[in-house]
Symmetry: C2
Subunit: 281 residues, 2 copies
Amino acid sequence: MKIINSISGMRKLALKWKQEGLSVALVPTMGFFHEGHLSLMKAAGSKADHVVVSLFVNPAQFGSNEDLNHYPRDLEHDAKLAEDKGVSCLFCPDAKDIYPPGFQTWVRVEGVSQRLCGTSRPEHFRGVATIVAKLLIIVQPDMAIFGQKDFQQLQVIRRMVSDLNIPVNIIAHPIVREPDGLAMSSRNTYLDAQERESALSLVQAIRLAEKMVALGNRSGPEVIQAIRNHIQSFGNTKIDYVFIGDPESLKPCREIVDETLLALAVWVGKTRLIDNTLLKQ
Amino acid sequence: MKIINSISGMRKLALKWKQEGLSVALVPTMGFFHEGHLSLMKAAGSKADHVVVSLFVNPAQFGSNEDLNHYPRDLEHDAKLAEDKGVSCLFCPDAKDIYPPGFQTWVRVEGVSQRLCGTSRPEHFRGVATIVAKLLIIVQPDMAIFGQKDFQQLQVIRRMVSDLNIPVNIIAHPIVREPDGLAMSSRNTYLDAQERESALSLVQAIRLAEKMVALGNRSGPEVIQAIRNHIQSFGNTKIDYVFIGDPESLKPCREIVDETLLALAVWVGKTRLIDNTLLKQ
């Protein structure tokens, strides 16, 4: 596995593969790999000749009060894990090359960025859209794979790729969960034992909603209320949002139809966790 | 010469050329070709195997009170002129394909878009940056050629291409002028005989400034005042701005050094004209 730091080096390697007629899948990450990342890499490897994993803790998607500085990092371990998954190239650019002095261009996806996480993290998706646009332009992959855990991110990227005519196939990968159901996240490492218990409130609330819908309840407000009650029954939780609505436009709806998105963000202590599901009728 | 309307058709042709190892130069235009456009096409043809001219009157770069609806158009004549210049392909996409329902992604270049024309046309450069990003992603040319008459546009695009890592060489082409000095523009067709006289105030003001600098005057404010006085001595003129400053950052400066940008925008009747020069010490 090659580890590449320079943008020009990455571009050269990707171009070489393209000229050889080999397909490339990109897996954009912020590192500190867990099973979720590894399953993205595995899926990518089953679909393309070469897998490029980008590892970049993107300052532009963190708010000024967020956890950029103590976001977990372990490049050496990450490199080993990626190599074991058959990844061809780990692309680890420097922040000073990605955002050089005088950088001033931003890609903004307006509607779908503004709701849900966009309310409490106003510039987050501008940072996400910009870094992903740059990575797609540098690597020019045939496909890029994203975890469905960051559902809104996935929709922002799908919209951007379509709107800017970027020739890439965006693939969504199902959420990977711990044995007890907690959605995997690098931020789970922040949780102490008690918070780890409270973190289960998210997946439990999702299962509760799925059960209500399976039993015939179609009322968004009733399901949201049940979720809120369940999460609030745990210590140390603070709900950011519970959302039920259209999975593409991310506009809220009152009636649950097939493939309605349920998404939630909850603070557990000082850690903000997200989870989601598509409710089936 | 091929005339292509569909984005996928354009992409396919450009990809074919790329696979054949042929170089491509893009000349983005809004049509209604004059000698300025034709000289861009000629320059492009001397540098690349194939020239693609895009012809798209981009609604996103017109303000709501601007001249989108009566912007001059003559596709048939344009096609003849382009063919005579040896252009390989005229790309004329439909607005509904470029901005389909639900379109919501914008490329914004922050600093250099905000001054000069950005003050009176607040969303203009967002529209320019977005359409040029889309064209560069669709056509993937080796180079793209822009007239220096739209100097700020050129700097916005240079900054965007660098910031988003778009692999294209941006080439600036000198301003093409009428025999009496008026910078060529499709909007010159709006001018009646008397306005046509007043329109000469722009180039005359530029020549005046060049003379002052040649005689040793280094004072931005003094040169600006002389320009204002000259333009205001013409009937039917209203100055939008007279700018002296750094050609890259587009920040104003008081002292004229070598390669200082002088740029101006003036309303002549209902027509807004721009012109510029790089002042030499």
